[in-house]
Amino acid sequence: MTAVDPETRIPDPIELDRAEEARLHAALGVDLPPRPGEEYAGFDTVGIPDRPPQTEREAEVYTLEEGEMLVNMGPQHPSTHGVMRLVVKVRGEVVVDLDPVLGYLHRGIEKLCENATYTTVLTYVDPMDYISSMHNEHAPAIAFEKLYGIRAPKRAEYIRALVVELNRVFSHGLMMGFLALDMGGLTPILYGFINRDEMVELLASISGQRMLFNFFRVGGVNWDVNDEFISRLSTWRTNVGRSIGDNEALITENEIFTARTKGMGVLTGERAIALGVSGPNLRASGVPFDVRKAHPYSIYNELEFEVITHSAGDVYARYLQRIAEIKQSLHLIDQIIDQMPHGPVQAQVPGIIRPRPGRAYGAVESPRGLYSVYAISDGGPNPYRFRMRDPSFISLQVMPVLMPGHLIADTMAIMASLDPIMGGVDK
């Protein structure tokens, strides 16, 4: 390692705003964290902050009373659905409080997208919520088309709706498996992955990629359907009812599963709305909010479907909600295949898009809920601001609300029922 002459060293951009930062911290009423070389004030290896608490809430979680103990789950815990850490405060085996610690997978995708052209942004968003990449691409495509003032051709919209519904089926199918796995049932996840593998091969035959599809374009989709896709799709459609049904038969009526999930982690509708929960988790609490109905995008106003809800709001209701939505998605897929028109799949769009200055909001119903993109154009080739609202990020706030009073073994079951994906949470 070569030593650096402090006189000639190029300053970091980070170091330039020290004065402003001091002012901000003073306004917050907290001490400025020391610089490198001074005393380190971060987290120690086991998770208790080795410094005074920064906020009221942090003090509440990390202050222990007699008989209480902190348990650290993760970040490499197999059931945390990615890399995250839960600091759980327990009294015996009963959870008293919980603090999710995020950021282990933070890649700064929003910032990267603000430095990429509109076309390139659609490749960056894929690894966000990596179980539903099609949905990740759909929302920015909608927002950019609004900004640029074009519409995708009808056939492209139908293909989009087809692939996002296929993606929803496999995402929900995996959630069934993960939920059972987190409660100790190993078989459903294996069946779930067999189903998933058929579906990723199916989606790969139209997009060329198994996981990060990069299929959507501003003003259309990358490829039209091909022979391989159609033959795989018909085989899959014939078998899917049985394969999902097999898996469902393992779980839904299982006595151990129902005993552990019914009445556990109950989230009321009002609380869910206040917490910003969306998607199947919100509908399982009895609130009929589905972006496909609320603000129909793509071709959803031409298709026939209902917003399914369950009223119980517990883990079991969230599970049943997914099953019902799989069936509904299959119903939608049938309609889409029947009604698909002929025509081009891509509008005439230049390689580098420069929309007029303006703002656009594109929201889709992803398998995890309301996924939206707020894009601002200043007339340049890349978005001035690119904001993504990820549903799993918001759903995680439910954990500290639901967990108190439950056993520590139920933490993972409740979390799996919310179905967060850390790639999306951490952006």
């Binding site: 030593a3 650096v4 060293r9 190029i10 970091d12 951009p13 980070i14 930062e21 901000l24 306004a27 400025l32 964290p33 610089r35 070389g37 380190y40 004030a41 971060g42 120690d44 290896t45 086991v46 208790i48 902050p49 080795d50 410094r51 906020t55 009221e56 942090e58 222990l64 103990m69 902190l70 348990v71 650290n72 993760g74 970040p75 197999p78 945390t80 850490r85 950021g103 929003e110 609004k146 709305i273 917490l275 910003g276 603000h295 200055p357 303006g358 703002r359 656009a360 909001y361 929201a363 939206s372 707020y374 601002i376 001035y384 601001r385 904001r387 609202r389 918001i394 995680l396 706030q397």
Partner: protein
């Protein structure tokens, strides 16, 4: 500080007024808003599927509460809360997207925040789910939400000292604009501070159990100490 690589201020170009062309679908919402907030009428404009209104940051809680509780507006769902930085010398903006089943348009409320003292009232009393949004905005933009009881960093580590989504935080790729002249601090190992990795962790004050491997505990030099003072490395994973 250098502005964006493009000429002219972004905010100036974005601030260009547009004619109010209300589509029929949003007409009822525009009327209801002008009735209730006549002072905001000049800032109102409509989009393909959104109605937009601009407010002063200090009024955000009051306006949003009326939007939520008024039976004819009834914007009960907070869809999004995001911050926008218009660059040095300009201002921040916190943008709320609201949903109501009475109106077929998203409502976008843009609250202006001063960049030199970025304070805004927290809306966690209206929607407690705004907590993570506000933590993220504090982390990424440095906007301080008064009344939020958990305003700490959410993505970056607690000792991180900058606000990465501000426009004056430049990526290393912007070589021409960056004061670091295109050199990422992470690419200069001579500046790395490794002292904290060898530092012995002070004897744990609290007994603590780790399920799974811990973040930095993988290296033997991490020196994790068990509750009874014995070295825990031998018995990993516990």
């Amino acid at each position: 500080m250098a502005d964006l690589c493009r000429p002219g201020s972004a905010a100036a170009r974005l601030g260009r007024r547009r004619p109010l062309t209300a589509p029929a679908v949003a007409g009822a919402l525009v009327r209801a808003l002008t009735d209730r907030f006549p002072e905001l009428a000049p800032t109102l404009w409509t989009d393909e599927d959104a109605v937009e209104v601009q407010i002063e940051g200090a009024r955000s809680v009051e306006v949003l509460r009326r939007l939520r509780d008024d039976p004819e507006l009834h914007f009960w769902y907070l869809a999004d809360e995001a911050a926008v930085d218009y660059g040095v010398g300009e201002h921040f903006e916190v943008v709320y997207h609201l949903y109501s089943d009475l109106h077929p348009a998203w409502l976008r409320v843009r609250a202006r925040v001063d960049r030199s003292s970025p304070h805004l009232p927290s809306i966690t009393e209206l929607w407690e789910g705004a907590m993570f949004h506000e933590r993220e905005m504090f982390d990424m933009m440095g906007i301080i939400f008064d009344g939020n009881r958990d305003l700490r960093r959410i993505y970056m580590s607690p000792d991180y000292r900058s606000f990465p989504q501000r426009k004056d935080f430049l990526l290393p790729d912007d070589a021409a604009d960056s004061s670091a002249a295109g050199v990422n601090p992470l690419e200069r190992p001579e500046t790395w501070d490794l002292s904290r990795f060898s530092e012995e962790v002070a004897h744990s004050i609290t007994p603590l159990l780790t399920l799974g491997t811990s973040a930095k505990g993988a290296g033997p030099e991490a020196g994790e100490t068990d509750a009874d003072g014995t070295d825990a490395d031998k018995s990993r994973p516990r």
